[in-house]
Amino acid sequence: MAEALLSIDGLVKRFGGLIASDHVSLDVNAGEVHALIGPNGAGKTTLISQLMGELAPDAGTIRLGGADIAGMSTAARAHQGLARTFQITQLLDEYSSLDNVALAVQARGGHSFRFWSDARRSEPLRKTALAHLTQAGLAARTEVRAANLAHGERKQLELAVALAAAPRMLLLDEPMAGLGIADSQQMIDILRGLKGKLAMLLVEHDMDAVFALADRISVLVYGRVIASGDPESIRANAEVRTAYLGEEE
């Protein structure tokens, strides 16, 4: 069997006495949507931060496409095809939506030690960025500053920026959090359109979204993966129901 695109093995992260990741092992195959669910404080965001290199794990390995990326910086991981969205949006508030995305396109296209020509007049950068904004449903908001976007639009922009980095593995940290029903549905539709084109690790509380999108689901509780399997088996799993799903329904 071919190796998974992303494989995490025995990841441990402690904050003092608290174990945020307790020997977490999971993998995501190419083109697969692997959802990660669990109650608040289960260590989902901490896991994404370790995958992206923003936090260093205490033990364990992370492999992307067969290569060990544990020692790489965040920027280097991005160039290896890893991208993330943030639960609490991290945007360049003074720049327009288009600038936010164009910078991601620029970053992926090599170094930015170019001091002379006007970056905003670069046709290729702008065109690609516009395509990503359109895909994320923001075509009408290209010149609006990120700070002036509505919450739902900021979530869409987060996604557009991550996609502009052309990842093969996308880490989504609660893309529906705080969205209304209509915005949520739009986000699900956008993500569904991406299915099969790239692998996704989807951290999400919205169970409708999870069951609509996921090929596989893992459940994280107190830093430990207590169950992993296809959506039907997770729905049926008694331990998961008590730990998490039960409180939702």
Binding site: T74, A75, A83, Q90, A107, S112, D118, A119, R120
Partner: protein, 355 residues
């Protein structure tokens, strides 16, 4: 030349944020207005020494020269502080290094003894200015490489510490005047120009400033400039799209240090004197105030800030010896009520004028 002025004009009095939010397509009416405004300002600056001569007010030319030199230094600091968000409290170090390069090379030129046994002294402005830029750039690379491992208050403190270290180094360097500083008896020479003439030297400084601001204008709008501004706004975001933020910050810090070195070289020639005061933390503070007063992150804000600071300092000092007592409140008021500094005031006035 005309082209450079034109691009500069578009940037003329516009906050960086505004520029970044609205990309320009074609030439708008605003651009034409800016272009004209820029030409008028440049024409006034060129006419200034002649007017000063006609009015028999020679000190007007020297005042303007000081403003132009500090405008270069402040704009240069602004690249790190305003655009890149690196609050350096030690940029006087690079200003002072630039000055001392001129002073030391001149001393060796006069004594005809090579520096370190193999670098002969010189009084050629082209060479001394280039050396000043190079040496201050190297110092900025060293200080920056270490300081940028930290951020926030630690960064401010460590840049301050590096600058003060250099300050005390030059205070103790008896070979180059120590505490008393170094006198440069005659200004460096540049081609056949009479640099001893204050008006001529003013024009040299003005030409350097125009070229420097044109360069900054390009840098601020380039891929590099956008990345730098992005790092100021959200370093975490930039890293996650694949930008090794440290390298870009360091490059900006070095360019910024080089600009201050250039300004220092001009200052040493202008004043025909260098002393450790050029590297003192108060000088770093003054540069920061010029940037913040004028409008951090904007192209011409720091130049306005430098002008206001020096004009106020000069006129208030002539009026009372407690000039700082007046200057302090003025600065506090501007910073409290006009967040974008002088540049912000101009933008506001324009907004009102346009309804």
């Amino acid at each position: 030349m005309v082209e450079t002025t034109m691009v500069e004009t578009r940037m003329a009095d516009q906050s960086i944020a505004e520029t970044f939010a609205s990309p320009k397509t074609g030439v708008s009416q605003r651009d034409v207005v800016r272009f004209c405004l820029m030409l008028i300002v440049l024409a006034a600056l060129v006419a200034l020494p002649f007017a000063a001569r006609a009015l028999d007010a020679a000190n007007l030319t020297t005042l303007a020269t000081r403003i132009v030199i500090f405008a270069i230094a402040a704009a240069s600091l602004n690249l790190a502080l305003g655009v890149g968000g690196m609050v350096s409290f030690g940029h006087a170090a690079f200003f002072g290094i630039g000055g001392y390069v001129v002073g030391i090379l001149y001393q060796h030129f006069v004594s005809d003894e090579p520096l370190f046994g193999f670098i002969s002294g010189t009084n050629q402005l082209i060479i001394t200015a280039a050396a000043a830029i190079l040496v201050s750039g190297l110092a900025a690379a060293l200080f920056g490489a270490l300081s940028l491992r930290t951020s926030g208050v630690q960064f401010i403190m460590i840049t301050l510490a590096f600058a003060q270290m250099l300050f005390f180094l030059f205070v103790s360097l008896k070979a180059y005047g120590g505490d008393d500083g170094l006198i440069v008896r005659r200004r460096n020479v540049l081609f056949g120009l009479d640099t001893r003439d204050d008006a001529t030297f003013y024009f040299i400084c003005l030409a350097v400033a125009v070229a420097f601001f044109a360069l900054l204008h390009r840098i601020m709008r380039s891929r590099f400039g956008l990345v730098l501004g992005g790092i100021r706004q959200n370093e975490r975001r930039m890293a996650s799209i694949g930008i090794p933020t440290y390298s870009y910050q360091l490059a900006a810090f070095v360019i910024s240090g080089m600009g201050c070195g250039l300004a220092g070289a001009l200052m040493a020639n202008f004043a025909r004197f260098v002393s450790p005061d050029m590297l003192h933390w108060m000088q770093s503070g003054e540069l920061m105030i010029m940037v913040i007063l004028g409008g951090a992150g904007t192209l011409f804000g720091p130049a306005l800030g430098a002008a206001l600071w020096i004009i106020l300092e000069t006129s208030l000092a002539a009026w009372t010896e407690h000039w700082q007592f007046v200057l302090g409140p003025v600065i506090i008021l501007i910073i409290l009520f006009f967040r974008g500094g002088l540049q912000g005031i101009l933008t506001m006035i324009r907004g009102i004028a346009h309804g």
